[in-house]
Amino acid sequence: MKKEPKEVNSRNMEDKKLNEQVRIRVLSERLLLKRNPLDYQAYIETFRESLIDANPHQIEAITFALEKLENGGCILADEVGLGKTIEAGLVMAQYRASRRFNILIIVPTSLAGQWNSELRQRFQVPSKILTSKDKRGVAKDRLHELFREDGVYITGREFASRLENERVLSRKQWDLIIVDEAHEIFANIYRRYSTTDGHYNVESKNCKTAANLFPLLKRTPVLLLTATPLQNNILEIWGLSSYILPETNKNYLGRYNHFRELFIKNGEVPEEKIPELKERLGNIMVRNLRYNAQAFMKYKFTKRHCETVNFHMDKQEKRLYDEISNYLERDDIYAYSFGLIDLPDERAMGLRSLLKLSYRRALGSSFSALKQSLTGIVERLKKMITGETVDIQNAAAGDDAENDEEDCLLYGLEPGVPEQVSVRRPRQTDRDIANIEMEIREVTDYIERAGQIRETGKDRILVKWLKEIFMQPERFYQKVIIFTTYVATQRHLKGILEDNGFKDEIVIFSGGSRRTGEEKEMVNRAVALWEEEVGAAVPPHEKPAGNILERTALVQYFKTRKKIFISTEAGAKGLNMQFCNALVNYDLPWNPQRIEQRIGRCHRYGQEKDVWVINCINADNETEKRIYDILLNKFDLFKSVIGAGDDILGTLSKAIQFEKRINDMMNQFKTKEERMIWLKRFEEEIDEETRTLMDSKLKHTRQLLDELDPNVTMRLKNIKSKLPESFSQYDKDMLGLLESDSLLKELPFKIEKKDEEQIFFRFGDKKYYVGKRDEENIRFYQHISLKHPLLQKIIEEIRPAGEALETGVYLEYSHCPNPGKVLTPYVNCKGRWDFYNVCFAGIDEEEHLFDLLSVDNNGEVNFLNDEEITALKRLSISPAPELSAAVSDSHSEKLLGERVKEESLLIQNMQQPRLDRKLHNLEVELRDMEEFLYNKEAGIKARMQEVDQKISGTFDRQTGRKLIKEKENCQRELKQVRKELLNFQDHFQEMFDKEQIKLMEKRFIEAKPRPVFTLHFHIR
């Protein structure tokens, strides 16, 4: 009987749906497959999820890193500008994808904010910054609770070292530790090794900061980031590599004494040894060079230019400026002395220096900033009279917590610990009170006069420059960022610029804690606009909140609507503003790293135009001019392709502690002449230092860093060629999944446009895209990734627990346009197709997909080979629910069993070294703890001996009583430590055995097969 068209259509639809049911299952399994952490495919998803370009050198670096982390770690030493932070972020994302969540990032304090920002923006990885402030009020034995939750933690290295001195960090099982700028501090660990026998000296006084962290870093997988692994001598590289293996005296580059013997002659690596050392280094270090990587990067590096804008003060300004400057330079003012007499000299000196630093900065910034500082002085002076307490550290604080912390450390102060001082009334004489009152009057006068100066010479010249910039659209984007250290200056500038034709063109950006009503209103407006224009398309789980939302919204506000962005140091951290290429330093910190951070907001990967940096310099202050000249000429901050931090010149700024030296000099020398002499000598010192670094003495050794691997270009090319295919397959699978779902649910689906990296489509009534994520399309299309609720829903529907599809089908050989000859022997045969997902659980869980196809060929069961399977899969499917199983379950299970066994052995062999390592690290960790307690005991005993000696040497009753009390305290401590030690030793073996059994269990791979579908087929 002839079929009615309606029946044919519905039959076709049924066939189609069955095809899609099979297809959707295969695609979802492929997309969701839990992969081995070292599988290249495992981080395609990470790239698609994150806002980064997958540059080949970064893929190369993370492949290297992920492999080497299995053996303890490695050094990522790409040149500046190649994105080490991105690489570290990718490694972290990968770790998190394989459920290793506990990651510690140890950084220079001032970079903590930047890391936090980048991780969130690029990788949607939340992280918690912990600083000394978080320690306040927490008992020593509860400090480990700061790290209680699983997650990513960022700490400054001094803070991390202090914590680990008390074994706080060791109490947590870290999956990964990342050390940024590892060459600073950590590379010098070599100084604690003996040159004679190569042994590590626990008692050494060198490098205490690194030494505290040494055991922890050794036994945890560690990623060391540095653009400058070699600064002064090759032993620094040896030092860096010492963090990788767990045994104290073991190193990939050989024992310390052997290494020195074989690889160092007269302070250099002999030329003939370079190739060999390079080979060894290649095992633990990856270094990409800009000239290699650039050819394969999406964006090439642009140049950086500098414009020095000299301004003059008018008479009124100059007079006031000089008077205030003279006041602040006096050492005898009460503003510097209150309460500090009660403090130890060193701390008092540190606090004074910190205050002077902050006042000098204010002086160099604006009268508004100065007014604020002077107001603070008046308040403190008044409190001196009444005897109230004052927190001096807070008095010197700026707008950025991490910078404040760094400043404290520079002066040997413990950040976050308030230096609360006061002067008790009886200490003050009437004369003191009279002098204080006189000082108050003087400072109040300055404040009033400063308030009368509205527009300064600097302001006038800034306005002129801004107008010029906006008149050159071919050279500049119509955007300018202005940096200043002070919120007060920021507000002053806003007022000035609004009065000069820039009303409604300005965005204010600061740390957020002291906003005015108007500023709060602007923030709310920016957030509302962001929600409307961008937020609507952002999946809920990715939406930022709180402070992060505000920052994001303000940048977007600037990008889309405003011309000028006035920011404090808070904005120098972590904001990406490649849409702007003009930057003004309204005031210039004397800290090359901070200058670099500011410039790095615009001059970074993704910037398409050359960047211009405009520095406002006070031409009336010769000393300031001179300091600026040194910064300009001796450091490569303003001129190079990328900037400071690059190899030799970046090293320089760190080596000589520029800002501190300048500040100390200003404290010591008061006259212009003395200062100029000092500056000249300083300049000569810098030249000498530069010469030493550039010297041919290290010329050979530096060759080591030229190119570790001569095949790198070839490999990058290879990666670049393979990448598109991997991404393409991933995107196609995702698209295929959605397409299948639309067919099954009879929903509209249409591809609207395609380009190299993205496919835009309509699904139902909404628009989406798969492929590389960007911020351009976000207004109209939602980005689809595996985390998107739409995909999550589809997957939930396909994979309900325990249910596999099982049905009969016809495989339409006769309808296939090009069936090939491979299947000819099987036409009219029946068989079965089992598709399994098998989860192998060892150290990690990884899934593998198994396609088992077998055919009953005249009573003999043949398992199809790969070629036959591929051919068979090209046949279309039509339903045949009446078909029964031609091949029994037992045949299929037997084949599955064999394949699973093979795979289990492979996985076991791959995992075994990791298990060995974990076990070994466990032992080392427990031994370390024991040693720590022994050392503690020894320390207390030594103290007791000292006290005993003092007791026998004293005749003073009061002193004697004090000493006896001290001895009793020691005895109590000793008893406590001994108890701890005995307890520990008792439990040592038990702890070890328990952990060992847990790890051993993971060795024996458990395979859990899950059937996805079974099709009983008939080939016709």
Partner: protein, 391 residues
């Protein structure tokens, strides 16, 4: 259905003479860890008992009691897994061996040391174990010779457990010889043997599992997970790798051409891994490469148990010519000349001197010729040196 683990030859307390003290200690620890891994596996797979076919202790007479006590400490961590031990020829049940020195109270409840001959019934799986311990170091009898037809009960699974060598033509002097067909003859479902240090399947019912942790290079043992459905069924035997260390030995013939690859391979190793390496090197290197080679060997020595270094500096032309005189000298001169020229190799000169594989090469292979001649000369030189000709 019955399932159990078959293991043997633990040799706990082996002195590992030839290793430094630190490594010997680690290797001994590894032996105990391998035993622990067997228990971990048994616990994970819910296997009720483990059969150990002798040589538990490396030297039963001299070993300190602590070695057995350490073993018991491990076993106590797995109270639900029964361990049935037999004594082998290294640790026979004699008056002064370790088993008699350690008090009975020290034995954990889940450990049973088989006395001379025992019949042990195990409820889990309805199993009967017919086991024997050796009571002397050498014996020329089958330790299970006493098994009678009455020992075989209906519906039970019968497993033999003993320590001894295979009685066949090849191994005639083995102590405690056991016939290969013994299991079939005595109607045992499985015969678990110990003595050999590598895994060997004798037949469907008779196995040596080998030592679970290598004692020397070449040992390839494991634990066996044995499953028997019912009386008479062929046992399903699955090897389980529990070894802690890998013993790798490698022989490398070096030349200047291979040297970069050798360096790269050596540098790739991971000093932290649990591998006992033995390297035998031979060959010839140029003076420059030889110097680098020596330095590398020195740096890498710590990673190796032993390096048999037989590499020499490539002899000069004079060295070659000094090897012989007369006809041989002319031949050698001709070989050296041929390195520079391009004419066919005369076959009659190379018969019995040059190996066959070189002769098989086509005479027109000039790009290869140099390498072949080098090889030939070096081989000759090596023979010459072996005979003491260079002294």
């Amino acid at each position: 259905m019955a399932h159990f683990i078959h293991t043997s030859d633990w040799h706990l307390g082996n002195s590992f003479a030839g290793f430094d003290r630190d490594t010997a200690k680690k290797l001994n620890r590894a032996r105990l860890d391998a035993v622990k891994a067997i228990f971990v596996y048994a616990q994970k797979k819910k296997i009720p008992f483990i059969l150990c076919a002798g040589d538990v202790i490396d030297n039963g007479q001299l070993a300190a009691e602590s070695i057995l006590l350490e073993l018991f400490a491990v076993v106590k961590q797995f109270p639900h897994t029964r361990l049935i031990l037999t004594a082998g020829n290294h640790d026979p049940l004699m008056a002064n061996t370790i088993y008699s020195r350690v008090s009975e109270e020290s034995y954990p409840e889940n450990v049973q040391l088989v006395q001379r001959r025992e019949r042990i019934r195990i409820a889990a799986g309805n199993v009967k174990i017919l086991a024997a311990s050796n009571s002397e170091k050498r014996g020329n009898y089958n330790p299970l010779h006493w098994i009678q037809p009455e020992d075989i009960d209906d519906n039970m699974i019968h497993v033999g457990l003993a320590h001894g060598g295979l009685a066949n033509e090849k191994f005639q002097d083995n102590p405690f010889p056991i016939e290969p067909g013994f299991a079939r003859t005595k109607k045992l479902d499985y015969l678990a043997l110990g003595d050999w240090h590598s895994y060997k399947k004798i037949n469907d019912r008779t196995y040596y599992c080998g030592t679970p942790e290598p004692l020397q290079f070449g040992d390839a043992g494991c634990a066996l997970h044995v499953t028997i459905e019912k009386q008479g069924a062929i046992p399903k035997v699955e090897p389980v790798n529990v070894s802690q260390y890998e013993w790798l030995q490698e022989e490398v013939e070096l030349s200047d051409r291979d040297f970069p690859g050798f360096k790269a391979k050596l540098a790739q190793g991971n000093p932290g891994e649990k591998v006992i390496r033995r390297l035998t090197t031979a060959g010839f290197l140029s003076a420059k490469n030889y110097k680098t080679y020596k330095e590398i060997i020195r740096m890498e020595r710590e990673r190796y148990y032993k390096i048999d270094d037989r590499v020499s500096i490539t002899p000069t032309d004079t060295d070659f010519l000094d090897m012989a005189d007369g006809y041989m000298k002319a031949l050698l001169q001709r070989l050296m000349d041929m390195k520079q020229q391009d004419f066919p190799l005369p076959e009659e000169i190379f018969n019995n001197v040059i190996p066959q594989d070189l002769l098989d090469l086509e005479q027109s292979l000039s790009p290869e010729k140099q390498a072949i001649v080098d090889k030939a000369l070096l081989k000759l030189y090596n023979y010459y040196r072996t005979l003491g000709g260079d002294k």
